[in-house]
């Protein structure tokens, strides 16, 4: 199918990702830092794994959450 004359479709306003094992909708253009802020998480106190790769904290501002991403966001809790 060709749609030669129509302008590029706008990016979807929200899309689905999986965060800590649960589906979640996020707005297009959300960065990892933005996702953390939306959940009141201090970026210095969590570690983020995106699609199996650990993200450096320095990259949180630059990396955008993409449709279908799988995020693991972990922190330290009491343990022996």
């Amino acid at each position: 199918m060709t749609r030669s004359s129509s302008p590029a479709a706008p990016p979807p306003t929200t899309f689905e990702i999986v965060a800590n094992g649960h589906a979640r909708r996020v707005a297009g253009g959300t960065t990892v830092a933005g996702f953390l802020a939306a959940h009141e998480l201090d970026p210095d106190l969590v570690v983020v794994e995106r699609n199996g790769e650990i993200l450096r904290r320095a990259a949180f501002d630059a990396v955008h959450v993409e449709p279908g991403d799988e995020l693991e966001i972990v922190h330290f809790v009491g343990g022996g």
Partner: protein, 280 residues
């Protein structure tokens, strides 16, 4: 605890333990040396305030934490790290709850990415009821993580063959259990711990099972390099006082080991001179 004495095993091991006595002064793990030989956990406390007070009372310089998913929907509580000063204590992430080498490696990497150290307390559980380690998976994970530069402290069984394999795989210490995690049963197999002390040159830290202060002292008297405990303190009626007791017990047991206890004998030996008795 009544350590068997006078057996061939003990004659042989006395040379080995004499070597260990010379390492008095601190607990060296990887490239760091710690003044305290007591390592404590942060689990099961009623409040972080109690945990922090127990840490203070214990004198511990290493404290374990678990790596878990953040609850994205819960209102955010104060981070555990708020209560721990990384300048004063080494925060030691564990891999508790992992059942395969792959899971444990993933959690170890996440823990290291927190940026506090390259230490990991490596746990790979093989049985839900006893929480005994799966030593085959443990060995695999130890080898891979040691190659990645981790200072690997594996929780293991009290088997000297496994302990030696862990050392060969690059473990910075071996951490045999005294009895099942959280059981408080104390040291059920001192012989196994003695065999491990002979089998490896890396530090031996007894991890899990200590119930009260006498367990800790008796365990240290075997010549182990340290003890890691959590439940014994957290589930005491007064965790802060128990932490203080454990600090003293670990130190007392260590000093007694370094001092070299007397030989046991079957019959009495008078402490006062037999000669010169009045009316004798």
């Amino acid at each position: 605890m009544n350590p068997a004495r006078g057996t061939d095993l003990m004659t042989e091991s006395s040379a080995r333990t004499a070597d260990r006595r010379e390492t008095a002064g601190g607990l060296t793990l990887g490239d760091r040396t710690f003044g305290s030989r007591l390592i404590i956990g942060t689990g099961k406390y009623d409040s972080p305030q109690t945990m922090a007070a127990a840490l203070e009372a214990s004198g511990a310089e290493i404290i374990t934490v678990a790596v878990r998913r953040v609850d994205l929907d819960a209102s955010k509580e104060e981070s555990l790290l708020h209560w721990l000063d990384p300048e004063r204590v080494l925060i030691l992430p564990n891999t508790a709850g992992c059942y395969t080498a792959d899971e444990a490696i993933r959690v170890a990497r996440l823990g290291r990415a927190a940026g506090l150290s390259d230490f990991v307390k490596l746990e790979v559980i093989g049985d839900e009821k006893t929480l005994y380690p799966d030593v085959l998976e443990l060995l695999k994970a130890t080898e891979i993580l040691a190659a990645e530069g981790f200072t690997v402290l594996p929780y293991t069984s009290d088997d000297p063959v496994v302990a030696r394999r862990l050392q060969e795989a690059g473990a910075a210490a071996v951490m045999p259990l005294a009895s099942p995690i959280g059981s408080g049963l104390g040291l059920v197999d001192p012989l196994g711990i003695r065999f491990i002390l002979e089998a490896v040159s890396v530090p031996v830290i007894v991890d899990a099972g200590v119930g009260t202060a006498s367990d800790a002292a008796a365990t240290m008297e075997l010549g182990v390099d340290g003890i890691l405990m959590n439940t014994a303190i957290a589930e005491a009626r007064d965790p802060v006082r128990m932490a203080a007791a454990m600090r003293l017990a670990v130190a007392a047991g260590r000093i007694a080991f370094e001092a070299g206890p007397m030989e046991r004998r079957t019959y009495a030996s008078p402490s006062s001179p037999p000669a010169g008795r009045v009316g004798g």
